[in-house]
Amino acid sequence: MTGTTAIEAVGLSKRFGAVHAVQDLSFVVEHGQICGLLGPNGAGKTTTVRMIVGLIRANEGHATLLGEAVRPSAKVLRRVGLLVEKPAFVPYLSGMRNLQLHWTAGGDPWPPSGLDDALDLANLGAAIDRKVKGYSQGMRQRLGIAQAVMHRPELLVLDEPTNGMDPAETRRMRVGVAELASRGTTILLSSHLLAEVEQICSHVLVVDKGTLVAAGTVADIIGTGQLVDLEVGDAPSATALLQATPGVLSVAPSERGLVVELDGMRRSELVSTLVHAGIAVETVMPRRRLEDAYLSIVEGEG
């Protein structure tokens, strides 16, 4: 590992004819992060992913992966796992044969070091030896993820990894991705499923119309709204206290307790204020979810 930056994009731009798919896009994903890449359809997410792995040439700017400059067929790609747009296999060959041919095409001896773990994650059972043309979309997706992780990559780039999976498969995959991250794999996850991103990711990049419109930790992105749901033992006392507390804009009753609008105060400070006043705090949760934050960012841009 060289340095702490897993992905660095500097001023990436890509034009297709008169259409600017990506414009002056710069971001950094540090080692160990699980970074969500969000944006509406046509925002430039897939073009960005393809540029950072060398499938598309940037008109301007450059990218580095794991500290090395990206160019087509760069050696550093051996340390990267990729699932972009949708998995793709030779339909008349079995799942295992596809994995084998993909791996040996790079000149390495079969099998790769992480094959067993990858097959466990894919959970295809005996179907791994059946022809891929008989697979469901979810099975292809799981095989695609197995292909991406079978060499224990340091960096994993996943584009809509749970597309076509049923809830149980989705959950299994989410747990698997989290396990990979816990072992130190850096993950860039492009997804439309904001709840999924919120559960898995530590950081988020939001792109729209080919430009970066927000970046930061999930907490930072969600926290910009400052609305908090509060359940307390003594709601009237808490209301009176908070209305007189600097950093609190408003306090209003809700179905479950109180809705508090903060003005710069952190949630931990809010809890501390209430506990010091002898008021029991049952729960404190940000009212906005990632979906709210995302929509306000993207629609605000529009």
């Binding site: 060398g54 067929s73 790609l77 051996r78 990729l82 972009v84 030779v90 095409a105």
Partner: protein
């Protein structure tokens, strides 16, 4: 990468269907010629001699197939090579494996060309086997063009066998141009059909230009200009233009390969 491409192509039903089709035509040709032999005609050509020996039939089968059917099959092997990866979407995964783009194109050309050579061997084997069964292994007839009127002259069976072998080798060499054009076009489009049809159209256009009475200054540079020179193996004619044909094919194939590699190295992989 060559081994990977080889496995992918040989595990494919389409490949075997093409070989079966190439084998079937000479066999049908033998059966038809046995059941209803060509009638005596005043002029002598390869077709009027086809029942003289199993070797004559094998020659005619190769002559007949190399005019179009073989070109279509070889165009399919070449035209599908890179565009097939785009159709399945597997190109992006191979390139980030990573496989070098140059290696990918050269491997595709190599395997498609091996399949083209096998195609020629299949035609020759099917023509020879069915021809020998129908008309026997015996001295063959070739055409003596030194006379005012072409006349058939006998040639020992073994000598004719070697002439057939050299003819097949020459046809196989000519197919290298078809493979290279197919691979080049398949780097330009993600549509396999477009690449295959484009390859066949290119070859047919070259043949048509070659057949036009004018265009004398252009004809020597057409990729198909010397394709039929191997027919002289079955007549008492000069063979020196076969060397020109070999040189022309190698020059064309090299140029087209360079263009294919140059194009694919710069291509954005969007499929």
């Amino acid at each position: 990468m060559i081994r990977v491409e080889w496995v992918r192509q040989t595990r494919r039903l389409r490949t075997w269907a093409c070989f079966a089709g190439l084998a079937a035509v000479p066999i049908i040709f033998s059966i038809a010629s046995y059941v209803d032999p060509p009638r005596e005609r005043r002029e002598t050509n390869v077709f009027t001699l086809l029942t003289a020996s199993g070797l004559n039939l094998a020659i005619v089968a190769l002559f007949f197939m190399s005019q179009f059917f073989l070109v279509v099959v070889v165009a399919a092997f070449g035209g599908e090579s890179v565009s097939g990866e785009a159709t399945w979407g597997t190109a992006r995964y191979l390139l980030v494996r990573p496989v070098s783009r140059v290696r990918l194109v050269l491997s595709k050309i190599f395997v498609a060309y091996v399949l083209a050579i096998i195609s020629v061997l299949v035609i020759m084997a099917a023509g020879l086997a069915s021809g020998i069964i129908a008309f026997g292994w015996k001295d063959a007839l070739i055409i003596d063009r030194s006379l005012l009127f072409p006349l058939p002259v006998p040639v020992p069976a073994m000598e004719m066998f070697w002439r057939l072998f050299y003819g097949g080798a020459y046809v196989a060499l000519m197919m290298l141009t078809v493979v290279c054009i197919g691979v080049f076009l398949s780097t330009l489009t993600d549509s396999t059909a477009a690449a295959v049809v484009g390859t066949v159209v290119t070859i047919v256009t070259s043949n048509v230009l070659g057949a036009l009475p004018g265009l004398r200054s252009v004809k020597p540079f057409l990729p198909t200009r010397y394709w039929d020179e191997w027919h002289n193996l079955y007549a008492t004619s000069t063979l020196q233009d076969m060397w020109k044909g070999a040189a022309s094919t190698l020059i064309w194939s090299t140029l087209i390969t360079v263009f294919a590699v140059w194009r694919f190295r710069r291509k954005d992989i969007l499929s």
